[in-house]
């Protein structure tokens, strides 16, 4: 952009450069559209076509031979722009003529063949969503199908002469609704019970039951909300303190099914720091484009998340693709901005000051003179104003898409797109508002409809550009979190700890003070050797039943923790405290914790290791094992370089050297006890993927880096993911554990029972006779762990496992 300005300003002085400019290619969006928009649009764009001439599309321009692509000299419209007689020159009516340098650009554009982006048109969008809520009449019910959603959808299908989709069988319904509400597969036991239940109300009861499992519900929907609100436990911005989590607030809001209007209020006008991370965006170190300053991020984020409108284009220039303007984007930004805010167009100041405002003044407006806090409150109230139909439509559309596979409006963040059924959207939105913005209620409403309880219709990609017609729910791919949770649950292989700073149960309320660990750091030597890796270990005995075993570790610049030879924790430094709960992993009798730690960072003259193991016994007694001089340490032998997980058998163990340092003390004293309390609260159930920082598997399965708001997940499986799934040692380790579990289960004593258990646990159904025969042959009379592992792998790779039908 700078280069362009430079050229334009000096080109008339330097003929040589002018030639260079002539050779430059014209960019349709950035060069041509603004000129047409400024000088021609008023009379010849949108619904106007004065003199029968429209610039809406290239075809329109080329009608009547107004232009000859490739030949500016023969193009009539250029001639009109350059006519010396003001009475003939365009634009008419005393409007200023098009500046010569802009005519030059248009000439070059014509000479270059008039490239026109086929997706672009000046024509007005056909559809403008209503601002106010609409109260559509419900059509008459078709027979007994009197659920409000079905009355609308059935009428739609009848009108389009589309047959009703087939009803969903119990197995598929159980799997779909469990994954949609709790994110988890039903256990074999739950599946057996549900299939055996003959009650006509069992589906409604199941929906209620699933919605009442507050923790499971929360930990599934956390993924949706984290994506929508750009919240995560690690990511860009945290490194410089430029970003804050809202995890605790969000978790509690979901757990208590907080009304959505309250959530919106607390996000936009945060009553405390707990929910301020959303509007405070990501503050980057160094110089940042104005379009990514915190006020403009605010404008973009509140618009996208709650209004489903895209202010990203408009925060740089009046949008080419929808109706939002630079002034509107900055109006929202000015609500957030502490200081007067100048409008920047494409990173250049315009000299205009932004006035705090939101784009729908029909409902009310922000007082630009009010202080920031009040402006935010005013905006929050406008978002949840009873006359505001846009915010409620946006959220119910998102909920519908989560359950039904596609929004009533699609894409979800382009709410100015026409819905395939406006009555359905409006009815859901009004119902949501009328009933206290109750998210679970709307989820239940959708899940209890026959529309939801129908077979999904096969989708084909080829019609993605055509106008969409609803035929039934669309299949969805398991999210990264659902896939990982499913494998962890079936194989009992969830990790010991989690990263989200949330209290999963109420049992740790007021328990923080119970943990009283103080700083205690050790290393091989003090000061340490630079670029050195060390081992540390501690043996201990468990002689009576343990109720809770919490562990917090941090060390060096990277570390890995092993319990009885099994990797349980990994971290990236002495301030990367890793917490977990060991639970059943402890053995009766002798146990060993072994830690490998490296010192290679910037301050190689400092290194230390911290580990606290807190044991609550069932008899009420507690014990603390803390890294101190009773630990043994040894240098890592250099010949094992690169073999990260291989622990040498014999090492020159010696007693650890205590390391005293103010920095280390602060790290440990500040956070260890609250981490223990969090793990304690979470220790009665295994961690869920949504509570963990992302990893390479989840990333490759489509969990986004939450630097931006990303509201939809991928629907396909890529080759690289398939390669990962085919080669992953970790996945095989999980599945082997699952195989052992099935084989050792006293309830699955023969091959047929093993096959049933696996099908019920992973596919939520019994195998067919054909499948049973195939697998009996494959597994043999006495299935080996390897054979069962391979079967588990093969099933988790099938479309039936991956796709929620």
């Amino acid at each position: 952009m700078k280069a362009l300005t430079y050229f334009l300003s000096i080109s008339h002085l330097l003929p040589a450069l002018a030639t260079a400019q002539a050779e430059r290619n014209v960019d349709f969006f950035h060069d041509v559209v603004p000129i047409l928009k400024q000088h021609c649009y008023e009379c010849h764009g949108g619904s106007k076509s004065k003199g029968g001439f429209s610039i809406n599309t290239l075809d329109k321009i080329l009608e009547d031979d107004s232009a000859v692509p490739g030949d500016a000299d023969q193009s009539y419209f250029i001639e009109l722009l350059e006519d010396p007689d003001p009475d003939y020159r365009m634009p008419y009516d005393g409007n200023p003529p098009v500046p010569p340098e802009e005519i030059e650009i248009l000439k070059r554009w014509v000479n270059q063949g008039m490239p026109w982006d086929p997706s672009f048109s000046f024509a007005e969008p056909r559809y403008e969503p209503p601002l106010h809520p609409r109260h559509p009449e419900l059509p008459r019910a078709l027979g007994t199908r009197d659920h409000p959603i079905d009355r609308i959808v059935d009428a739609y299908l009848a009108n389009k002469e589309i047959p009703l989709p087939e009803p969903l069988n119990d197995e598929a319904f159980l799997r779909r609704v469990s994954l949609d509400i709790t994110g988890l597969l039903p256990s074999p036991q739950e599946t057996r019970q549900f299939l055996a239940d003959r009650s006509p109300h069992k589906r409604d009861r199941l929906i209620d039951n699933l919605l009442s499992r507050n923790v499971e519900y929360t930990e599934h929907w956390l993924t949706f909300w984290n994506d929508l609100l750009r919240n995560d436990y690690a990511g860009t911005g945290f490194i410089t303190g430029g970003r804050k989590q809202i995890s605790g607030w969000l978790y509690d809001s979901l757990k208590h099914n907080a009304p959505f209007d309250r959530m919106v209020r607390e996000l936009i006008a945060p009553p405390s720091k707990e929910s301020s991370g959303f509007i405070d965006g990501i503050e980057w170190r160094g110089t940042v484009s104005v379009a990514q300053s915190l006020p403009v991020q605010f404008s973009q984020n509140v618009s996208q998340s709650f209004l489903g409108i895209n202010m990203k284009c408009a925060s740089c220039h009046d949008s080419f693709v929808d109706r939002w303007t630079l002034a509107e984007a900055y109006g929202l930004a000015a609500i957030y901005s502490e200081d007067p805010l100048e409008l920047y167009r494409c990173d250049k100041p315009t000299g205009d000051q932004a006035v705090a405002a939101w784009p729908f003044p029909e409902i009310g407006q922000i007082d630009p003179e009010a202080p920031k806090e009040q402006r935010l409150q005013q905006l929050a109230e406008l978002f949840v104003h009873p006359d505001n139909g846009r915010v409620t439509r946006t959220i119910v559309n998102r909920l519908w898409a989560q359950l039904m596979g596609r929004g009533i409006v699609h894409p979800l963040d382009a709410m100015e797109t026409e819905p395939w059924n406006a009555n359905l959207l409006d009815w859901l939105a009004v119902d949501f508002q009328k009933n206290g913005y109750n998210i679970k209620r709307t989820l239940k409403l959708i899940a209890s409809s026959q529309a939801y309880q129908s077979q999904s219709s096969a989708s084909s990609q080829s019609d993605s550009n055509a106008k969409y017609t609803y035929h039934g729910p669309l299949p969805k791919r398991l999210t990264a979190e659902q896939f990982v949770d499913a494998v962890w649950k079936f194989t009992d292989s969830a990790p010991i700890g989690f990263d989200a700073p949330v209290y999963r149960s109420d049992r740790a309320d007021d328990q923080d003070s119970r943990f009283s660990v103080t700083s205690s750091w050790i290393w091989l030597s003090d000061p340490p050797e630079p670029n050195q890796e060390i081992w540390a270990r501690r043996e201990f005995n468990i002689s009576k039943p343990v109720a809770f075993a919490g562990i917090v570790t941090a060390a060096g610049d990277a570390f890995a923790v092993y319990l009885n030879g099994q990797l349980i924790q990994q971290g990236s430094g002495a301030n990367d405290l890793q917490a977990g709960s060991l639970g059943p992993k402890l053995l009766a009798g002798k146990n060993e914790i072994r830690i490998r730690a490296a010192n290679f960072g910037r301050n190689r003259s400092e290194a230390a290791l911290f580990c606290a193991l807190w044991l609550d016994y069932e008899d009420g007694k507690s014990q603390l094992i803390l890294s101190d001089e009773n630990w043994q340490v040894a240098p890592h032998p250099p010949q094992l370089e690169g073999h990260a997980n291989r622990s040498p058998k014999a090492l020159p163990w010696r007693n650890a050297q205590p390391v005293a340092h103010e920095k280390w003390e602060k790290i440990a004293n500040r956070r260890v006890n609250s981490l223990l309390a969090i793990q304690y609260a979470g220790s009665d159930r295994p961690p869920r993927a949504s509570l963990l920082k992302t990893d390479s598997l989840m990333r490759s399965l489509g969990r986004p880096n939450r630097d931006q708001i990303v509201t939809s997940r991928p629907n396909e499986l890529t080759t690289l993911e398939a390669v990962d799934l085919s080669t992953s040692q970790q996945l095989i380790d999980y599945l082997q554990r699952g195989a052992d579990k099935v084989i050792q289960n006293p309830d699955t004593q023969n091959t047929a029972q093993i096959i049933d258990e696996i099908y019920l646990g992973l596919l939520t159904r019994y195998p067919t006779r054909q499948e049973r025969r195939l697998l009996k042959d494959a597994l043999g009379r006495r299935p080996t762990p390897a054979a069962v592992t391979d079967l588990l792998w093969a099933i988790t790779a099938t479309p039936e496992f991956f796709i929620i039908r």
Binding site: M1, W284, T287, V288, V321, N705, L720, T798
Partner: protein, 482 residues
């Protein structure tokens, strides 16, 4: 060939026809044919010669005056004024008369006649120097933060050109760990296909010597068991009572991906990932460490049809090229790490007749200087570990500040001129580019042009046109093309 199997994926605007053609062409024909030009709107494009690209990434800020652009040599002496230091290595002759580079890069010197050296690459001053921000900019063409997740250079190439051999992942990233190191989140932010979706994302191989494991059945699984497992999978799919949903594109894409994976894992190409298959003397010729082994792996992958391969010296804060202290001795070590493998890679590609169609790029996020942080007039914080006017200890001898005013990029093969020098930096401080400055945007345009991709290639994301070079403004440095 599977393009845009996600209906939510951005649609290409200008090149839809090309993709259609490409999808129809069999991969064999595609491989045999000359690289094709993808035109943006009316762009005049020099004939593209490259159909593969290897980026040798000098992560952490490789000092140009210590490598490809040596200045006046100031040997260490105790108490020397720090502002007398421009280069801490003497310069040596290369195979090209008018090009001298730093001692320590003897073998690279001998192959400088195979490529073009740009000495005038410049980067914006982002106020505060954060390596990962500049790396993000270099790798995506866009200065972070951005309102959408920007695709990596390799993802653009993978997205537009597709795989060169459809068994081979088109974008392979060697040598960079993304877990357990500093700034890992910042690295992940650009080591991604962004809005293109993970189909076009990198296959990450942080340890070249373990690359073979990424395309091999899990440890302890015999070939027979692996094949059996796959047979069982196919049988389950065939016997599946829900098979009637086969028209479902999701199901089809899933099966195709599993199929592709199995084909790769049981293919001959899989051996390309195993550097142990090279004769000992070849391995020795490359093996200066992980980077050297990565170069050997890159050569094997490109020989077997990889499209874009990045090999990095690895970015870990304060390690490798990220010299904030002990610059001279660290650079000496880095010379040893890169000199042999880079030269060997170029010679091997040449010997195999692949150099002309493979663009090899040696680049870094910025240069370094002994006293200047950022560029003249910058407010960036001075990040040298030791701040003093005199060098009192040998460990303070070196270029410890980040410098964005002039750095070097070496290009080999892929249709660039041989033995050509482009651009110039000042001989006295500030060592800024004084001739033909090349921005990141224009460098991208140059790379894309060499690969047959118009710098104006655009995709529509969230209704917004998004270009392969920033806002479609990149202008290739056509001077460097043969």
């Amino acid at each position: 060939m599977s393009f845009s199997i996600d209906p939510h994926a951005p649609e290409p605007i200008v090149r839809r026809d090309f993709l259609k053609k490409l999808a129809l062409a069999s991969s064999a024909a595609w491989m045999a044919g000359a690289p094709q030009i993808v035109r943006g709107s009316g762009f005049k494009h020099p004939a593209a010669k490259a159909d593969a690209c290897i980026l040798l990434w000098m992560a952490g800020g490789m000092a140009a005056p210590e490598t490809f652009d040596p200045k006046r040599y100031a040997p260490y002496s105790q108490g020397m004024p720090v502002d007398t230091v421009l280069s801490t290595f003497p310069s040596i002759d290369t195979a090209v008369d008018n090009i001298k580079i730093s001692s320590g890069l003897k073998r690279i010197a001998s192959i400088m006649d195979r490529g073009t050296l740009i000495r005038s690459a410049v980067q914006p001053d982002l106020g505060s120097i954060l390596h990962s921000r500049h790396q993000y900019h270099w790798h995506t063409g866009y200065v972070p933060p951005q309102t959408v997740a920007c695709p990596h250079l390799g993802s653009w190439i993978a997205r537009v050109l597709g795989p060169r051999n459809d068994i081979m992942p088109p974008f392979i990233n060697i040598g960079q760990r993304l877990e357990g190191i500093g700034e890992q989140e910042e690295l992940k932010a650009f080591t991604t296909a962004g809005f293109f979706g993970s189909e076009y994302g990198p296959m990450n191989l942080p340890f070249p010597e373990q690359a073979a494991q990424s395309v091999r059945p899990p440890e302890g699984m015999t070939g027979a068991r692996f094949a059996n497992r796959n047979r069982l999978f196919r049988q389950l799919v065939d016997k599946n009572p829900n098979r009637e949903y086969a028209s479902d594109y999701q199901q089809e894409s899933l099966l195709r991906s599993m199929d592709n994976a199995y084909r790769l894992l049981s293919s001959k190409e899989r051996e390309a990932f195993d550097i142990e298959r090279e004769p000992q003397e070849v391995r020795d010729a490359y093996d200066t460490g992980r980077f050297g082994r990565g170069c050997l792996l890159a050569r094997r992958l490109v020989e077997n049809g990889a499209r874009f391969v990045e090999v990095t010296t690895e970015y870990v804060p304060f390690l490798h090229w990220d010299t904030h202290a002990a610059g001279h001795s660290t650079t000496d070590r880095m010379h040893k790490e890169i000199d042999r493998p880079i030269a060997q890679l170029i010679l091997d590609l040449e010997e195999r007749g692949l150099l002309d169609r493979t663009l090899v790029i040696v680049a870094s996020e910025f240069s370094r200087d002994a006293i200047m942080e950022g560029k003249p007039g910058s407010n960036a914080n001075d990040q040298a570990a030791h701040k003093g006017d005199f060098i009192t200890e040998e460990k303070h001898y070196g270029l410890h500040r980040h410098f964005t005013g002039g750095s070097s990029v070496a290009l080999f093969g892929g249709g660039v001129k041989k033995g050509y020098l482009y651009g110039k930096t000042a001989d006295e401080r500030p060592l800024v580019a004084i001739e033909n400055p090349v921005s990141v945007t224009d460098l991208h345009a140059t790379i894309m042009t060499a690969m047959g991709i118009s710098p104006k290639t655009e995709f529509s994301v969230e209704g917004r046109p998004f270009y392969v070079t920033e806002d479609g403004k990149g202008t290739p440095v056509t001077d460097i093309f043969a």
